[in-house]
Symmetry: C2
Subunit: 425 residues, 2 copies
């Protein structure tokens, strides 16, 4: 390859090419709807925590005013919020007809509710993937142990993503439940949802998709792929704020059969009659538990509305363009510096983030944040993730961030960083 | 008694007596710290949803700014928020030393986590009370059914509250867990926490207190009474907003022995190592589950801080004074109109709300809201609750609210109201 320190400054893909893509970007105007602050900073961690949008701030302020003005009488409307926000999100990002999505609780709790319900409804093993986000396997380890079920872990290559044949093999002899991520949290690989769902169904399993890195980043199409269940967070591409409530999807035909293991008053039929015995309401309400987070739901609603404005097809197209640019620049600028690409090369098999692998990834990541004002995140053992959220990331941001990354490594600045990963990012 | 329509207008306790109590109230200044709006409205439902405080609004705005400015790097501090807010709340309202309280999830989910953990740790039955809030019994019905445990329901007289002897009898033959409310949601009865906890311990049971109507209303003293576990909400007397996250207490000596049935990544040892197998962290962190609600926690913190400013002893004294005034006025103004008191008469056995019972309670409640601008709430079958939150309720508010209530019933205005209870309040 023969790149030297100076050569890394002259990319084969010039910055003007990135700027030209921005000039033609139909979503370019959406960037102004975010409070991104300092223009010098490049934020490429929207796949971990999306930034504040002006609409989210306004929606939160309006909801706080509603609390002030309506006090407890606000509940006459707020009781509908988990389902109303869920329906909006379903239409904007999930390819799901109304009445199948609610928003409340965390992804972890929602996964517990749905996977727990699925194990009550179906016999057999649980199939999951060791390369998926840890909270999923922890939840499933606990549920499987309690229910005396085998937990079969795929050892998927994160870049290739889970394969229908592997799911089929893991389900051999029958399975109760398959839990997989639609987009891998490290690699960004976008799973073949339809084929994998079909493979799970073939074995009699319910198929649950974790949409954390997919919702708002790819065209998920839950109804079309025949998904049974899904969970996912709203603080990434929905930009609803740190710890915002999570989504939960149950296919309409399955709602009557499943119930949550957490029997709470918000899932009770005729809730305010406060009857003596638990009886879950028909429909999605049965997957609620306690009092839903009304303030936070306002920001989720704002995030879903903004995504609906942008249009998921345009979002998806831009995600492909941004990540393709990142892959090209990786090959041109980073590979010569010892990086390898931790992300699929086919745009249609990627979400909206890319992963660059390097043996010194932690220190490089620290230096990038502290010395170059680029904010990505690190995932052990060796990945730097760049989340390229289509609503506010420009092509020149991708170019500049990778330019700064190459500069850090090229100059060896990262060598001076503390190498003990004790921080969140 | 011989009260007629006109006589009800001349109370034995005059409004000036209430005004004199306000003039001497050391907490009087706290009212200005709330955004109570329309001076004509009297809000006596703070035991369901506390009003917006200026500090809560400011804390939420500051946290939103922090999200905007720090983005994902904010998590380096936010990860501590559930414990930090918990410690503040523990000191301000719960009589608990640091390291025993966290705030996250809903009361329902927290009860599920702790009661589920308790059933894994102890053999035997579950004892609860049919007069307590429904979500508690629903959660326990689900857990008991799954674990094959007997659920023994006390049928406590709500006004008398649960008695140590009844708990002892219900625990006969051994019990795993006793779950009771410190303050009854309908009657406001304040349980004899120390004696009941001792009775439960005598039988080998863990004792879990639901503090929803107690936190910020009475001196709870969890450590002193020897409580094992507690849960409770923060949207009542902590004024943290609709659906704000709930508290969870585990006695320090018990933390190592118990684990949550929900195995989530926020309870994992060395969380960001994202190791393959679940291993709960030592300490309270093991009772977290998914990503905590960072924005909402700011309002809980503000509520706990305001309570700390006020001082729980003064709050408690004012609660006793306000509810005593309400009881006196009930006897003078409401009893002659067919009401009966649904609340203990001894101030030390009450929380901060009172309950007036009347066969036509629903319609009276509607008329009071729609015609008299007094906002209480209704609890089936026949109770109108007046929450008299000490931080912002004046003695004249109690006087005026009961005056308007008497006026409604005296004039028969409520008879025209719709009698179908379809609303939250």
């Amino acid at each position: 390859m023969g790149y030297g320190g100076r050569v890394a400054r002259t990319a084969l893909t010039p910055r003007t090419a990135a700027a030209a893509l921005d000039a033609a970007d139909p979503l370019a105007g959406f960037r102004d709807r975010f409070a991104l602050g300092d223009e010098g900073r490049i934020y490429v961690d929207g796949n971990s925590l999306g930034p504040l949008a002006h609409d989210a701030r306004a929606a939160l302020a309006a909801r706080i005013d509603e609390w002030r003005d309506r006090l407890v009488t606000g509940w006459n409307d707020w009781v509908e919020a988990p389902a109303a926000v869920g329906d909006r999100l379903a239409g904007a990002a999930l390819g799901a007809a109304p009445g199948q999505v609610i928003v409340s609780d965390s992804t972890t709790v929602n996964l517990y509710k749905l996977a727990g319900g699925a194990l009550d409804a179906r016999p057999g093993a649980v199939v999951a993937d060791a390369s998926d986000f840890p909270t999923d396997r922890y939840v499933l380890q606990g549920l499987a142990q309690r229910a005396g079920r085998e937990l079969r872990m795929l050892e998927t290559d994160p870049i290739a993503g889970p394969q229908p044949a592997d799911v089929e093999a893991a389900c051999a002899g029958g399975a109760a439940l398959v839990v997989l991520s639609a987009v891998n949290y490290r690699s960004g690989a976008f799973a073949r949802m339809a084929e994998i769902t079909a493979a799970g169904h073939e074995a009699g399993a319910l198929v649950l998709w974790d949409l954390c890195h997919a919702a708002g980043a790819v065209e998920v199409d839950l109804d079309a792929v025949g998904a049974d269940l899904a969970v996912g967070c709203t603080y990434k591409y929905l930009n609803a704020g740190p710890g915002s409530p999570a989504l939960l999807y149950v296919r309409s035909g399955l709602q009557r059969e499943l119930r949550s293991p957490i029997w709470g008053w918000f899932s009770q039929e005729d809730q305010f009659a406060m009857g003596p015995s638990y009886r879950p309401v028909a429909g999605m309400g049965r997957f609620l538990a306690g009092t839903p987070p009304i303030l936070a739901l306002a920001a989720v609603d704002a995030g879903a509305a903004m995504l609906a404005d942008a249009g998921l097809a345009r979002v998806r197209a831009k995600a492909a363009a941004l990540t393709s640019l990142a892959v090209d620049l990786h090959d041109e600028r980073l590979a010569p510096l010892g990086f390898s690409l931790g992300t699929p090369r086919e745009p249609e098999r990627r979400g909206a983030h890319v992963s660059f692998r390097h043996p010194d990834a932690w220190r490089i990541c620290r230096a990038l944040i502290e010395r170059a004002d680029v904010i990505p995140d690190f995932r052990a053992p060796d990945s730097i993730r760049f989340g390229l959220a289509p609503l506010y990331t420009r092509h020149v941001d991708v170019w500049d961030a990778i330019d700064r990354l190459a500069g850090i490594v090229d100059s060896g600045e990262h060598a001076a960083m503390d190498d003990a990963p004790r921080r969140v990012t």
